[in-house]
Amino acid sequence: MNYLVLAAGATALVMVATSSFAQQKPQVDAALVDRYVAATFKGASDEWKKRIEQDASQKLCSQYRNELPAGEVQSSLAREKAALKFPADGKVIGDWKKGQQFAQRGTGGQFSDGPSTPKGGNCYACHQLSSAELSYGTMGPSLTEYGKIRKFSAAGAKDAYAKIYNAQALFPCSNMPRFGHNGFLNEQEIMDVVAYLFDPESPVNK
């Protein structure tokens, strides 16, 4: 299965997801799996239980093992794209120094974290960003010189905002968390992270 996804916006992001073989639809009864999951997290608080209720995309991506059949790709992108929200005044670039902290920090949202534990986007877990930082993961592509390569264009920054807000609006079943869509990072926090990618002074672009 091969599919092309054209992202809206001035810079068309073209992404190709390939898989050598089509995943067979699993045989197991979905209601049975739901029962196991419910029993496994029986002891969790209602608030935590709510967090693992699946939305439409989580359900589909689980069902198809992250490889959507061609017929599901467009509707999935459309659904996620329709839920995108940009800052009202159109400004998407915040403070890169604060953004750097979000990119570095891996805490927040874990059951071991307290309510006052600072949260982060943990970008370095999956991406290379500043070339000075050697401790970076490889689950996502390198983002070094991200803004510079895109000539610091306004459209590029807006695409980056969209990506961080909802990675699945651009790439179905992306492994990247939907930070804004899921309410983990707020508007200002995403703007700060965008600045880390797009401010000419940010170490990402040095």
């Binding site: 999951v37 029993a39 496994t40 997290f41 967090r51 699946q54 992250n66 401790s135 968390p177 899921n182």
Partner: protein, 275 residues
């Protein structure tokens, strides 16, 4: 034993800052060094996990509970009291409960039913910590060690074992939570790492999943404790931004059946020692 432990303390820092080599090739120089250290400290004389093995043996033979009997009549699948090779075939279906159980679920069942033990305290100490040993970690280290040198052969034959395998596979790919994660997010590709931490590909049969599943329980140097698969999965759900899974829940057993089946034929060498 004492000498060995002193050596370990010296090496601990090196191992703690290390990356696992399993998911990456070729090995860097520092990874090769770490591999060498790991071989050295896999030696029973210097791996502190063998203290748990000794404690586990004592617990196995300890009379407790309302019935004041030992665990020695507990049937782990190979017959009452038979320990050799039992761990290699767990989780498995048990006729008396008509359930598929992993080692910890089974031990818990034997404590309650054979010994008549109130297990509240055992469950409270499910994971050891500073100044607190865990009976379960000790017993698992002791019993799993009796399968060291054998091959992993978790059965997927009984209809309930098949159900566990299928549910486990589905749970491996189940996405959810604030970060949209599933196990597959971090464990379904070769050669990926999170920060500098190598991530084993556990989603398909092969060497990586074999090396992983054949090496649990393990003494985790960074935590100064023997850890079981129940703990590993609990910690991965934490990283996934999911709620804490219930100890001894069937979903964790289902995941273990799925992973063990992918790891079929793995060499079991336990307790191992890891970062």
């Amino acid at each position: 034993m004492r000498g060995g432990r002193a050596v370990l303390v010296g090496l601990a820092a090196v191992v703690v800052c290390s990356v696992t080599a399993s998911a990456q090739a070729p090995l860097t120089d520092s990874e090769k060094e770490i591999e060498k250290y790991r071989e050295m400290i896999s030696d029973p004389m210097s791996n502190p996990g063998f203290l748990n093995v000794d404690r586990g043996e004592a617990l196995w033979k300890l009379k407790r509970g309302a019935k004041d009997v030992t665990l020695e009549q507990c049937d782990l699948g190979e017959g009452a009291g038979k320990l050799d090779g039992a761990y290699a075939k767990l989780p498995r279906h048990f006729k008396d409960t008509d359930k598929v159980m992993d080692l910890e679920q089974r031990l818990h069942w034997c404590m309650q039913n054979l010994q008549g033990l109130d297990t509240a305290d055992v469950v409270k100490r499910k994971f050891g910590g500073p100044g607190r040993t865990s009976d379960m970690e000790d017993l698992v280290a002791f019993i799993a060690n009796k399968s060291s040198g054998m091959k992993l052969a978790t059965p997927v034959q009984h209809p309930k074992e098949k159900e566990m395998y299928e549910v486990g596979e589905a749970m491996f790919y189940r996405r959810g939570g604030q970060w949209d994660f599933s196990c597959a997010t971090c464990h379904s590709e070769d050669g990926k790492r999170i920060r500098l931490q190598g991530l084993p590909n556990l989603g398909k049969p092969g060497k990586q999943v074999q090396e992983t599943m054949g090496s649990w329980p393990t003494y985790r140097v960074s935590q100064s404790n023997v850890r079981t698969m129940q703990h590993r999965l609990w910690d991965c759900y934490r990283q996934m931004r999911w709620p804490a899974p219930d100890y001894l829940s069937d979903g964790l057993t289902a995941l273990t059946v799925y992973l063990n089946k992918n790891a079929e034929g793995a060499d079991i060498q336990v307790p191992s020692i890891k970062r």
